[in-house]
Amino acid sequence: MDASLTVQSIIEYFEEKLRHQEGYMSGSGSGSEPQYPMMVFHLGPDDGGAMLVEGLTRLWPQFRQEIPFLSAQPGAGGAEYGEFTLREDGKYAVSPITADRVTDLAAGLSSADNHFKSYDRIVAYFVVDTVGLNDPGGFDKYLDVVSRAESAMGIGNSMSMLLVLLDESNKARSELAKQIKNRLAEIAPDATYSICLLSNRRNDHRVAARDIRKLATAVIAVSNNRRVETVQDMFFNHRLFTAGYAREEKPTADICQFLVTALINRLSSLPPAGDGLATAKDLAQRLGISQNGTIVTLDEYARDKFASLLPAPQQLELFPRRDRAEFPAAPASMPASDFDEWTMGAWSAYLAGLVAEARAGLDLNRVEKERIAAGYRAYLRTSFTAGEFIWLSEHPERIDACFAVSREPIRQLGTLEYAVEYLKYLISSNEELRALCRGEVDRACREAVEYMADWNGLVRSMSTLHQVQQGDDFNSFYNGLFNDYYDRHAHVIEGDFKKTSSRDGLRTFFYKAVDGMLHDDAMSRALCASFESELRQRLGQDNVNNRVSHMLDPGQVPAYLQTFFSLGAPFRSFILLEAGSLSSALNIPAGTAVYNTGRGSAVEVLYLYALNPDNIMYGGAM
């Protein structure tokens, strides 16, 4: 295992799986769609661009192949381009492309195969993420890249929007942001594109780095819809604007944290016990060692590999005899020693040939040795608990005593049975293979010690979590949900947990436990409920409305820009949610447009404010 397991990593795994599952269950692609063909250029660090692409493709998965998401950066020859493509691991990465390819992609937007509503306009978005900039000159280079990209598109009927994401997370960054604002105030009156200015420092003085990209996604979504007046406003009437934004979403992270910590707390009450082995009479058997001292995994190997080489019972008749007489009994059931005597030692010699072949096979095949080791490792893990392994690690003499036994099978066994047992004896008495298996016991013991350290570390790591602050209704609801689930599955969960005795096993156990919750019908239904349904389950419909309605007052929603003067009233207001019972139950003010996201995982509000360039101009020029 590359790193020790923490409660945080399990929660992240759970959250990722749950969000993925929510994606399937909360509807997809049935919301509003882009009106015009569009292209998105991202200027800045690629990871920020990837987040934007993920947001937009989550909103419009059906347009993933129709909207080019490109990276454009200053570089040799003025601009370098890349295309965001989905990798096998589900993440987006940038592959370099040429300016000609940009032209081709722009030309392809009007293809008859696409599914946009109108084709009389093409929309281009240039999202400039200034987080990586260190000097104002870099911003001018970005503006140059925007011009070059527009040229590369080579389209006459395009509308463009520049979304500038400012980083004002500290004093030095704020100073740079001021100079960028000044530059924007200068160019805005004559710009060929509209400018949306968003800062991670909100007008309530809080810094919201993550939400700024969700906000940019929302701005892009609402600016390209069938309401012509909105499009007109955002691209032509208000050339410089900013936005207020708020979001209420399902507390998925908190739900995952609550359930994972509840699971760990339950399991913590199951103390590992190993002392029982002190008086165990079946220790050898649990180690997979037979009364003759053969080892279970090696027995299986002997059977698989060599049993097929043994003659069939009727072939034993073909062995020699001193005279023309029948054997006294069927050869297969004769004692091996008798058959050997009747056949003048030919049976022993025949078996010796098989043995030599077996030995040669063992000498040669390292891959098979590793397979044997893995098989025995797996056997041991099902046979002992972590506590028992730790006890064994403190009593190696008990293990050695079990491994010391090795007896030849008695020759009174039937001929073929003896042959099988003899081959097993031969394999199991091979010193190298025996040492291999003995080493696996040591390894399992070592891993159990590491496992206990990891488990204790995992329990300790819960103290690093912030407490879930969703209120009593949340705790009560998810406590009941978890207890019901656990009580129904305690036998399996606790059984699996007791069998876990290694670091890797611990991680696997928790991943499996999390997967188990997501696969359980009742649990999954509750966990994958939409934002609205989840709230309704806990609070009832009235409280759902209350939870959201405060956002319908623009005064309660922070703007993502600090200005010298009041922003005044928004020129456009939106509520973004899955159209359904919530939108009809809410008392949505006149003039607030409902944008159907087709997904029930969140409710967002977006207020657009026109900006006067003077309102963002600071003393001193760039």
Partner: protein, 215 residues
């Protein structure tokens, strides 16, 4: 004794091994005063390819007891001093047949014995393959039945093996195949002389040693 494998020395060489008239002893030519290391290896093999690794193994076995000693499975050696060779009028008695003998000249100085590689000369080879010809007969066992003109097959085949003193090892070198299995011939079977196999098809006797020739 330490053994060192050295290059050919024209003044110290052994060559042209051959069988005595009675085919029971090995004769060879040797430089005056040179001792000889006689090596017996599997039929058709080359003893010189075993060197120099064989030197270390020779050190742990006493090969000067006037008889062949086993160095490793299938490889035997006997040290014949110049004096002993002179006393062997009829040659060095063969250890066994169906194998290859190689003679290498050597000289001992104190505790170090230098074994010289043979010269590359086709006229004076250092090795001699000694095959062993044996007779094995396989036959259906029949019996006369009253009123039947022809003998009737009994269901058994007889295998007439060479006797225990024919020089055939009872280690599975000789075997018979029948019905998909290979049954090794043991010393006890050789001592028995004729053994019987119950089968509808005739067993086929085979030799794993190309030097052990069946007729």
């Amino acid at each position: 004794m330490t053994y060192v494998y050295a290059g050919p020395d024209p003044s110290c060489r052994a060559y042209s091994p051959r069988l005595s008239e009675k085919r029971d002893a090995l004769l060879w030519e040797c430089s005056r005063g040179a001792d000889t290391l006689v090596l017996e290896t599997p039929f058709g093999g080359s003893a010189t390819t075993l060197f120099p690794a064989l030197c270390a193994e020779l050190e742990s076995v006493d090969i000067r007891k006037e008889k062949f000693a086993e160095i490793r499975p299938g490889v035997w050696a006997r040290y014949v001093s110049a004096g002993a060779k002179a006393r062997m009028n009829g040659g060095c008695p063969l250890h066994r047949e169906a194998c290859t003998y190689t003679v290498l000249a050597c000289e001992t100085d104190g505790d170090v014995c230098t074994v010289h590689a043979p010269a590359e000369n086709r006229m004076s080879l250092p090795s001699l393959d000694v095959p062993l010809q044996i007779h094995v007969e396989v036959y259906p066992v029949t019996k006369h039945v009253f009123l039947k003109p022809q003998p009737v097959f009994t269901g058994f085949f007889g295998i007439e093996l060479p006797g225990p003193n024919a020089g055939v090892p009872g280690d599975g070198t000789l075997a018979y195949t029948v019905g998909g299995i290979r049954v090794p011939v043991t010393d006890e079977m050789l001592a028995q002389g004729t053994v019987y196999v119950k089968s509808d098809t005739e067993p086929r006797v085979i030799s794993a040693n190309p030097g052990l020739k069946l007729n």
